[in-house]
Each structure stands twice: as C-alpha cells, then as structure tokens.
Symmetry: C2
Subunit: 721 residues, 2 copies
C-alpha cells in the first residue's frame, strides 16, 4: 500500500466519521430519540438530560464524559464497567508514555538513515514516505538499532508500570465495592454442588440441612434445593408468552374501540404462523390458555419442588463472614463431594448448570477446550466445505428456477466471489454466541463467569486469526514457495510484521473513526427502534423491549480492544507511527464509552471486577508476543546484540508470576478483611434474600408454604435452626 | 552373574541373617537390654514385656506383631506410622497379587521357548538357569509375548486397585484421627506470616490483635508474637549444658563419696577441651556459671519479647472450626500479606523459619530445587575432585610422616582403591542430613513438612542414581561405544534392564536378610548403648539419652523402600522371579517394623498421614516408569503390538489426576466436616494450649506477666477480647 491509498483510506474513514457525528448531533435533539440515547438514565428513573434541557452545544456530551468521576460510573454502570475503563486508561497510558519517548527519537533516527535504499532490491516492499519512518528503513547491523533496542525496553517497562498500578487500582476498586455495607443477597449465600446420594430414611432437604447446621450451628439459616426446572420453565415461558399476546390483543382492541366504539374484537387463526387453522377471538382464546397454563404451572411447580430435587443446593447464612469463608474451605474429606463455591448474583445464576457432576465438569471443560482449539485453528475447513457445497453449479441444480438469473455473467461473478465471503461473515457473526454457548456448556454456574470464559476464547481466535493470520499468513506462503529454508515462528513473525504495517495503520484508524462513530451515533439501534415502534409495538412493554439497550458486551468488546492493543504494541518500535493511532483509539474509545456507560448501556450482571484477571493476563500475553516479535525482527536485521532482548520475555514471565501470586486469589475468593462485619439477625431481611434466589418459574406464593420440598423452611431433623 | 555366584551371594546373606537372628534371640532375654529392645514401651510407662515375663519362645515377637491391630499402632506410634504400614501392605499386596498370576503363567511360557538359544550370539549375556525364566528367553516377535503384554496390564491394574483402596483407607485414618475429641493445641491455633510493617502509634501486638479480633470478634482468643530467639536460645542452651555438667559432676562426687567419704571434689580445667587452663572446682564453677546465665537469660528474655518481635505470630481461637477454616481463607486482598497457615504441633515448629518473607520463601524454594537437581545429577564431580585432591601423592606431600606406610605396595593399592570409595561413603552418609538441611532452608515452618520434603528429594536421588544409574549407566556406555545409533531413553531403559536382573535379585535379598536382620537385632544401637553406659554416662539423664531410640526415620526409610518397589515393579514382567523376593521384602519388613514401631521407635512428630501424598505420588511415578520401561523392552523385542501398551501410562496419568482432584486437598487442609464441634470456653484450658507453644528458651514465669510484649495477654486496643 503506498501513501496515496493510505491517505485515501484514512480520508474515507474520516468522512464517514464526520457524517456520523453530524447525524448524532442532529438526532440527539429530537425528544423521541431519548429512549435510544439515554435508556440507562431513563431506566434508573433519572431525567434523560442532566439539567432538564437539551443543550444547543453539540460537544456537551464530551464535557459530561470528561467531568464524570469513577464513582459516577460505578453508580450508573457498576464496578465491572469501571474496571473496563481502567483497562482503557492503562492502554492509553502505555501508548502515550511510549509515544513521548519513541516518536521524537525513533522517527528521526529511522528517517535519516540512507543505508538501505542502496540495497533496496532485496526488499519486497518499496519505500514510500511512510516507510521512511519505520525500523525497516534502518540498515542491517546499523548502530542506529541501539536506539530501537532501548525503545523496546522502554515500552516494556512502561507497560509493566501501568499494568502494576492498574492492578493495584482494580484491587482497591474491588475492596471498596465488597466492603460497601449495602446488603446483597449473594453475600449471605453459597452454592453447594456434588451432594452425595440421599441416605436411606432421609429426605434431600434433611440431608443438606443437618449437614450444614452441624458444621455451622450458629450461622446456618436455611437451604434452597436446586430442582430440575426444565418442564416448569417451559410452561412458565409459554404462559408469559400468552400473557404478552393477551396484552397486545387488548391494546389493539382498546385502540380500535376509540375509532369505532362497536368494532370487531381482534381475532387470529390458531394454526401455523396464524395463517392456517380455525379463526378464534384472540382475547378469549388467550385468557383460556392462560387459565389452563396457570393451573398446569402450579401442578408442575409442586411436582418439581417435591420430586425433581437435584444434587445441588443454595445455602443461606446469617453471617457474611461464614458465607465468605465457607467457599474457600474444604468441607468433605473427598474434594469431589459437597463442593462449596460462591453463590453468584441471583440474576446471573445458570440454574441448568448447577447439578452437573464434579468429574463431568472437568471432562466437559477439556472437551470444550479441544473443540475451541479445533475451531480456532481449522475454522476455514467447514466454511470452505459450506461454500463448496453452495457453489453456483450446485445451486443451479438444486433450484432450477434460479438458472436465468445465475447465468448472467456479471451476477455470476459477483455471486461466485460473494458466496464464500457470506459463509465467513455468518460464521464470524455467530462465533461469539457459539463461544458463549460452549462456555456455558462447561458447567459454569454464573453468567459473568461464562462471559469471561467466552471472551477469553474469542481473544485467542481474534489475535491468532486476524493478527497472526494477516501478518504471518502471507509471508508463510512466500517463504514456503521461495526461500525453502526452515525458520522458527519467532523469526517468521519478525520477518512478516513490517509488510503489514500500513494495513494495520488504516485498520486502527477505521476502527476508531467508523467503529466509535457508529457506537456513539447509535444509528443501527435507532433505525431498529423506529421500525419496531412503527410496525410491531402495540403495548408499553413491547415498546420498552424495543429500546432496551443491552449491556456493554464485554465478551466481544474487550477482545477487539485487545487486538488493537496487540497490534499497537507489536508495531510500536517497528513503525512508531502506529502509536498516535493507538492513543487516539483508546482515548476516543474512553470518551465514547464513558458516554455510553453513563447514558446508554445497562449492565446485566456485576462481578466486582473479576474480568480484570482475564484482561491483565491477556495484556501480558500481548506484551510477551511483542517481545518475541522484536527478538525475531532484530534477528532479521542481523543485529549482533539481539540476545540483549532475551531477558525481556523472562522478565515478563516473572512479572506475571508475581502478579499471580500476589493478586490472583483475591479475584477468586473474598478476602475476609473486606467482609463487612456483623450478622443479619432479622428473619424478614433473610427472607427477602432467600426469595431473591427463587427462579421466576417457581415463584408462586401458594407453593412456598408447602413443606418438605425444595424451598420449604424446615426439615424434620433440622427444625431447631 | 551366573547361577552359582547368585546362590553364593544369596547364601551369604542368609547366613548373616541367621547369625543376626540368633544374636537377637539371645540378647533379647537379658534384662539389661530391655532399654534397647523396648524403649517405646518404657517411655510410655508400660512394662517392657507385655505379660511381665520374657518368654522362652523366640518367635513370640512375631505373634505379637501379627496380632497387633492398627489401633495399637496408632496408640503406640501415631497415625504417621500407621500410614507407613498402609504403604507396606499396599506394596505387599501388589507383589502378592501380581505373583499369583504372573509366576504360574510367565515362568513356563518363558522357559519352554527354545527359539532364542539358536540366535544366542546376538546377546551379550549368556543364558543360565535363572535367565531361562525371564522374558529375555522368549524370542523376538514371538506370539508368546502376548502373555507378557497381558501381564503388564495385570500388574498395572493390581497396582491401581491397591493404591486406590489404600488412599481411601488413609483418608479414613486421617478422618478418624482428626475427629478424635481429644484437645490438641494445634487444633486451636493458626500461624500468621508476612504481617505488614507496624503502623505508626501502634505496637505489633495491637496490630495483630485488632486485625484478628475485627475479623473474628467471637472466636479470637489471643496472639503470640514470634520473636527472634537466636540470642536467647544460645544463652538457654549454654545454661542447659552447664546444668547437665553440674548434674554430672554432682553424680561423680556422690559416687566417689560412697567409696571415700572425704574424697576430693571433682575438678576440671577451663581451657580447651578441659586440657589447658586453670584448674577449678567443677561443682562451684558450674553453679556460678548457672547463676550468671540465669540472670543473663532473664534479661535477654525481656529484651527478646519486647524488642525482637518479628512479622509473624501464632493466633489462638477458642473454636476449632475457626482454626480449621481460617488457613483455607484469604485474609488480606494481596495474598502476600497476612498469610494464614495451619499451626503445626508445638514440638515440630521451626521457629527460625517463621519470619521468612513470602517472596523469599518462593525464591529459596527454587534456588534449593536447583541445588538439589545439581546435586542429584552431578554429585560425582565434587566427589571426584575430593578424591583427586586426596590422592596418595598429595597425601605424601602434605603429611611426610605417612611416607613409609604409604609406600608399601599392598597398602598403597588398598588405599588407592579405597580413597574415592571413602569419599563416596561419607557423601552418601551425609546426604540425607544435607537434604533435610536444604529442606529446612526453604523456609518450611514445620519439622514434619521438612522431613517430607527431604524424603522426596532423597527418593529422586536414590532412584535416579541407584536404579537408573546401575541399569542404564553400563548400557549407555556400551551403546555409545558400539552401536552408534541414537536411541530414546525409553528404549534404552528397555534394553538395559535385563542385564542387571540377577544383580537386583541379590540386592533385594541382601536388603531383607541383612537390612532387616540388623534392624530387628539392633546390634549397632546395642553396642553403642553398652559402650556409652560403661564409659560416658554418669547421671540418669545421660543414661536415658544413651538409649533414646529416635523415630522411624521416614526421610531415608521410605525412599529406600521405594527403590525396592521400583525395582520389583520394573522387573515384575521381565524377570517374574523378582516378585517373590519383593513380596518377602515387604512382608518381612512389615513384620520387623511392626515390632520396632510397637516396642522401639518413638515418633518425634505427628502429621496425621500427610506423608501419604508423597508416598502415593512416588508409587505412581514408579508405575509410570515401569510402563515406559515395558514399552521400551517390547520395542526391543520387535513385537508388533507394542503400541497396545501406550494407553497404560496415559491411564496412569489420568489415575493420578483423579486422585489429586479427589484426595489432595484433604491432606493440605482440614475438611470442616471432621472438625469436632463445640468451642473451648474455659480460659484455663486455653492457657494450657497457649503455654504449650512457648519455646523452652522463653519459658520463664517471671517474664510472661510483662505487658506489651510478644506473649502478653492484652494489648491496649484489643483489651475487650
């Protein structure tokens, strides 16, 4: 890519960005769009606009974002979001502090070297104005490479410093959040899995209650048995569906009565898609269905609570200390029985995963790791097969009516080029969901943990396939064809990187211009909302659903940021020009997401910053990749002092080891020091906490009083608690 | 080695054994030897002989050993010894059950194969009568090898079964021991290390007390600060030494007065070794010294308690549950501060190791692993250097007066052969002590843990150097010289093993004939005791010290047993004749040690079977070594179906993984289920527990009442506890 096309691409991105910003400023002012631009504030019961009026100043949001404090973020969006901003700040800090030293020194050092142009013919890429400022422009064995060695060390130490400070900061955040005296349900509950089979003559309830009341005679409150809710949940969801449809039918009827007071009641057909079958009065039909299902649900609830008890339970203590220390302790001599773990927030509990067996979880985990590994490395094979199966000639045979269209030469060319791409696009769009599904299939009991696991998997995919794929992929091909000599992966990476530098410069620029432009302007959600409002929504609940903003989406957002950080780190010394691009990406990202976190997204769970473990580990992995790349590239430059860089990755491993030893445990388990003291003695408060864990499909007051079932308060043997 | 020399060697061992047994039977009857043969019973206040009379029956000890139950062993020698017997039984079980199948099938299968004798010339060892019964006698690619494949599987599955049952049995033992309601000091105490620096305006005592009384307001009792006792301990030991000498002088004086009522008081010279210097009255001199040191000790005790407080403490709770769960929990958000671990028994606490820093411990561990690795692999180098330096010519130059002796040809030959051996013998004798010293230097706070660590290190040394050294060493040399083609370590091991089979047969036989003969007859301790009694002991305390039997010595005993088990496993299929030898070794060992555990050795600590983790892991390691060896040997036999053995080591790894997951945690930490319920509310009992942890050098009642020091009960801030 030469300079002209680089600037063209940059310009295009910038123009799109300007258009998006103009749209944003215009659309923001319409009061009808408030639910798209301020849903988080609206859901929290705040005025959409902070001071009650829409300012004429289009840059107000920037001022608001900049002036918002960390406490604001935690209040509006939770600790997890605050930790995500710590990550963005850390990345920004690394970019800025690296740039301060690298740009003023390396650019002149590289640009004033004229030794390479003479033996230009050995290079595959030509030197344009941009490449002049890169390490590739410095001659082999040149003494100027010393500056680049020092720069490599500088970037590493800047990264260590910022990561270390960030880790301490995140620990403080987590400490503060856990210490807050607010009563949270999960502070009083623990999750027990792998309960051994019920002894004869006892019920499951008695078994669990007597076990925990013996060990914790003073702090055990009561237990909730986990049941197999598949059946009851199916009925419940059907019921909820019919209730929604009833509401909708009633709203339509009410509206039609306004215009024609004696108009017909709404009707529909009961068959497929409402097209076939008998025509019925909708309101009557739904009411009937709801009555049917309600009694069916109650019957099934009773059966579930009494007969579908599983080998898992939630235990409630009236002491935070017990609930915080129990999951860290071994209860049964064999670690594969009575395993106690922290209870996640009620809203993020994955009920279906709770009864999975100890060994089943281990086996599932390894099976899924294998599947992910295969997916990451060989994902092109199924896509290739799919596109081979759906070639034009196949399509023509299968669907003869397509023949006249397909046979036109222009359409044919487009389709032939397009079909494999389509398969790839669909695959990439579905991948995060697939990875989340896989992570849940591991038997993880909490939503946030599954999200973290999916995010980690997506990171490997994106870094391996986009970054290493783009850089090494092409070179590997060339190497195999022409050079024929074996080279290690490190030196291969070193050789490949410079060729793709300009590509990644435009890639980063596109990400912040177009990516964050779309993010801020919310054009797609806005259009979707208006379409839904016009053609589908009848009731208020449906309208609310149409603008519900969702959460920040860590599982894809963070790996994508990590890709940019990996690119920027790896190129920081080779092509220092990438540093300002990276700085703008993280700086502008911080600004835009600050706005989105305060006003748009609503977090769907809170894990008190456990995500940071993943973030930190992956940044260190990127750092090590960068250091290895540099060793490879200095090797390619035939610099005598390349071995001077070998201590760097070793240092990174020691750094990671120390971090792990020092910080890791706190993100896995609650330090007893930060547990707020005092017990919760009032039964009424404990009942609120207990009830918050009852899944909606079992939540019927008629059921709860039934004794001897999974939710009952007392078992015969442990009634003295 | 041919059959004749094999039987000669076997016969010699047997003769030695018979002589030792005769000596044992004769010496056992003399009442004066009771302290050598029954010290454990005497120290426990029991009659030396069970029924009060020395039976004429020389096999009585066998009946007693066989009829003793596991409960007897636990009562007389503790859980650790019982676990050691579980190991012996397991090894015996593996040998016996393997032998039942392998001996009647493999011996005829091998002996009736005549295919090899024809191409005998390719073998380096000749077939004697013994080798006929070995796998080496079966021809290459012979179908008879199928029997050996099945035998390999059989031995593995027998081992899995016995190990699994043993593991469950040991868990039961540990559960029972931990659940016993007897109050043990370590059940109420935990060890805190890495306490951060004292905040301004607080004393260390206040810092510790307020920290733990805040987290455990109801169960915290009091704390004991760890102090730097080096100075005070030196004074204390000097004092104890003088007290002993005074006692001795008084005993001599009292005895001399009996014969000559007005005889001279004992005197000695104060200089070097009591040879030089002024002549003084011993009793007076020692009394003076003791008075001096007592006041010096008291002063130093005060200084130590007040000023030499370290960053470590022992915390006492009045609840067993808290003391059992606290070490499993994280207390401070950073895991490198306020680390809480289980308190070992007071008698096995290594005080000097308590204040070592978190990272210092990690670094020390890795440094020591490196030292051990170097020692194991290159221990011949320093020995070689030492013997090179102490060659005869060097000796002659250094000590000219030796010349006339050294120059005699016979003496010269003997010495030249003997000097390197001597260096090796000294090295081997000192090695276990050196490894124990290294393990203590890791910063391990308990004696039993250090012993386990030393034992593990010794195992690697002995298996690598004796077993692999003997087998592979010689073959490697031959291979390097003659064959010149590369072979993997596995196939190398397979090739080397058969050559050393007869050597190891006699080795195992010698171990049980001579080794256990010496063990049972206790000839060496007996002679030592009588010599000491005659020439050195003056007081009762000295006499008691002379016959104090010591403990079972796991750190060397277990690795040596493991060597035999490794040898027997690895040869079980190749030379099935070794199986009865192994069975006799473990069976006879069980019998002899049962006697020794009941009557002789006194355990010096109790770890409730934590040693089993090491034992089990190393048996599994031996099993994997055996399976790899078999793959190698079948490869040498050019058997087509050798890959059928590959699942075996994989199976062993899975087995080890499952065992680890299921059992490991319980040996590291106490399962809360087995903690006896109830709290200890009486202060008097808690004071007994507290006092048992005070090291002898600080144990002065005058000191304890002093406030604000390391042992004081109340600190200003936490005086409400």
């Amino acid at each position: 890519m030469d300079s002209t096309s680089f600037f063209t691409s940059l310009g295009t991105s910038f123009v799109i960005f300007v258009v998006l910003m103009l749209l944003f400023v215009l659309l923001l002012r319409k009061p009808g769009n408030a639910v798209v631009y301020y849903p988080n504030r609206i859901l929290k019961g705040l005025d959409p606009v902070q001071n009650g009026y829409v300012s004429r100043n289009p840059f107000l949001w920037i001022r608001e974002a900049l002036s918002s404090s960390q406490a604001d973020i935690i209040r509006m969006s939770g600790v997890d979001t605050a930790v995500y901003f710590v990550f963005l700040t850390t990345a920004l800090g690394i970019m800025v502090f690296s740039g301060f030293i690298l740009l003023p020194t390396l650019l002149p050092v590289a640009a004033t070297d004229h030794s390479v142009r003479s033996n230009n013919n050995t290079r595959e890429w030509s030197f344009n104005d941009l490449d002049k400022f890169a390490m590739g422009h410095v001659g082999e064995r040149s003494l100027r490479l010393w500056a680049f060695i020092i720069a490599t060390y500088w970037v590493s130490f800047v990264a260590y410093y910022f990561l270390w400070e960030a880790y301490k900061h995140v620990v403080d955040l987590r400490v503060e959040a856990l210490m807050s005296s607010e009563d949270r349900a999960e502070q009083f509950a623990v999750l027990v899995r792998d309960i051994p089979p019920v002894p004869k003559g006892e019920s499951r309830k008695e078994q669990v209650d007597s076990y925990f009341s013996r060990i914790y005679p003073e702090t055990f409150y009561r237990s909730m048995l986990v049941t197999n809710n598949r059946e009851v949940n199916k009925i419940y969801e059907e019921l909820v569906g019919y209730k929604k449809m009833l509401e909708r039918a009633e709203a339509i009827y009410a509206r039609s009565k306004e215009t024609t007071p004696d108009g017909p009641k709404p009707t529909h057909k009961t068959g497929l898609f409402g097209i076939l079958g008998e025509k019925v009065d909708s309101i009557e039909f739904y009411n009937e269905k709801i009555n049917d299902l309600t009694s069916k649900l109650e019957a099934e609830q009773k059966v579930t609570l009494k007969e579908k008890q599983e080998c898992s339970a939630i235990i409630f203590f009236n002491s935070r200390l017990t609930a915080a220390s129990a999951p860290q302790s071994l209860h049964f001599p064999m670690a594969d029985k009575w395993t106690v773990t922290y209870a996640p927030e009620p809203r993020q509990l994955i009920w279906a995963n709770l009864p999975t067996n100890f060994y089943e979880r281990i086996i599932r985990r390894y099976v899924i790791y294998t599947i992910v590994f295969v997916t990451i490395f060989f994902y092109m094979i199924p896509i290739g097969m799919v596109s081979a199966l759906t070639t034009l000639s196949n399509l023509r045979e299968q669907f003869p009516f397509l023949k006249p269209i397909v046979d036109q030469p222009t359409i044919k060319t487009v389709l032939e080029a397009y079909l494999p791409q389509l398969a790839l696009i669909i695959f990439l769009a579905l991948l995060p969901k697939f990875l989340l599904f896989l992570s849940k299939a591991e038997g993880i009991p909490s939503q946030s943990h599954a999200t973290r696991a999916a995010s980690g998997k997506y990171f490997y995919f994106i870094v391996l396939n986009v970054f290493i794929g783009v850089t090494v992929g092409s070179t590997l091909f060339d190497t195999l064809k022409s050079l024929q000599h074996k080279s290690s992966i490190v030196s291969l990476l070193g050789k490949s990187l410079p060729g793709s530098a300009t590509f990644f410069l435009t890639y980063v620029a596109m990400k912040f211009f177009v990516g964050y432009g779309l993010e801020l302007s919310r054009i797609v959600p806005l259009i979707m909302f208006h379409l839904k409002r016009k053609y589908m929504c009848e009731t208020d609940a449906e309208l609310k659903e149409a603008w519900s903003p969702g959460d920040l989406g860590y599982e894809t957002r963070f790996p994508k940021d990590m890709l940019i950080l990996t690119i920027c780190l790896c190129y920081s010394v080779i092509t220092p020009l990438i540093i300002p691009f990276g700085a703008v990406y993280f700086g502008f990202g911080w600004l835009v997401l600050r706005n989105q976190a305060l006003k748009v997204y609503v977090p769907s769970f809170e894990s008190y910053g456990q995500m940071w473990l993943h973030m930190h580990m992956r940044v260190v992995a990127a750092l090590i990749l960068y250091q290895l790349t540099m060793i490879g590239y200095f090797g390619v430059k035939k610099f005598y002092y390349t071995p001077l860089l070998i201590p760097l990755p070793i240092l990174s491993f020691i750094y990671a080891f120390v971090c792990n030893k020092k910080f890791y445990r706190f993100f896995q388990s609650t330090a007893l020091e930060v547990v707020p003291p005092g017990e919760l003695k009032e039964v009424s408060n404990m009942e609120i906490i207990f009830n918050s864990f009852i899944p909606p499909c079992l939540d019927g007051s008629a059921v709860k009083s039934h004794s001897e079932d999974a939710l009952s308060q007392f078992s015969r043997s442990a009634s003295n608690v």
